[in-house]
Symmetry: C2
Subunit: 140 residues, 2 copies
DNA sequence: GTAACTTTGCAATACTGTTGCACAATCTTT
DNA sequence: AAAGATTGTGCAACAGTATTGCAAAGTTAC
């Protein structure tokens, strides 16, 4: 237990985020679930934590590149941990997969968002590439 | 005027949509603006039309492949006319571009969504690929 | 220990999307 | 043309998600 908290604290401090109890808990939830979670889903995993606190925790995490957000079209933005070296730059972008059966959204971290040649005069800043279909678990 | 209404009526009837006054108007707005529009933006272009009527009009249009929807991450879904031959199948999917300066979302109809090899066990149904950056107008 | 700063909880609000229901319009049948 | 069936529209209410103001609690710096 101590070791795990130590590990979480390190991850937070590497991103210049003060490791409060709340933040440790939210980080832990995102770490244990191996998929992207919405604010509501995170809230469900606690007994008595205020939504706005989680909301601001996620905002802090995102501002410091500890997590990234995914808009998968379900209406709720989802969040997932970034890799250790991630700075949420174009090269860090990857495709996400939304299963239309179970509703889970997963990072496809080994599938980078392909670089496209934009029409003349357009410049690239960022991208959101979500593929919808049936995931390997639901497929079985 | 008559000619235009005739053209609109044809487009609607080709999709098995009865051409009511409301539907002609909404189609016309989508046709004249050369970009994707949100429900709210469409509502703004009328004096006294109910939002739920526009909402249901858009739903009818989308159910019949007259328009497609884009979730560009701004919080509001946007809608744009489909091409005449479109059936909103994987081959009809194209990339969309959201300008972070002017907020406009455009169809890049000559940029199909690239087909990606998914991990074992995943199947493809649909995709949403939105690129964010500066558009050619704002770039000038 | 006190002051300054940060984090949290609560409540209220904004924004977008969606539905129930009654009335109006249109179509179908006689 | 009238009656009945179907479809479309307007209004109001509601649902779901995101966001903010403010005061209290906690933490850090001096
Ligand atoms: Mn991801
Ligand atoms: Mn489009
Ligand atoms: Zn699944
Ligand atoms: Zn622009």
């Amino acid at each position: 237990m101590k070791a795990m908290n130590q590990k979480i604290d390190n991850r937070l401090e590497l991103r210049n985020i003060r490791p409060t109890a709340m933040r440790q808990l939210v980080y832990d939830v995102l770490d244990k679930n191996k998929k992207a979670l919405s604010l509501y889903e995170i809230e469900q995993q606690f007994e008595d934590v205020d939504r706005s606190t989680i909301f601001r925790t996620l905002k802090t995490f995102q501002d410091n590149y500890l997590i990234h957000s995914i808009d998968d079209g379900t209406g709720a933005v989802k969040y997932a941990l970034c890799d250790e070296e991630c700075t949420c730059q174009p090269d860090d972008l990857h495709i996400h997969f939304l299963c239309t059966k179970c509703g889970q959204t997963n990072c496809l971290k080994n599938m980078p968002v392909p670089k496209m040649d934009l029409p003349q005069g357009f410049s690239f800043e960022s991208a959101n590439f979500v593929i919808k279909g049936i995931c390997s678990i639901c497929r079985k």
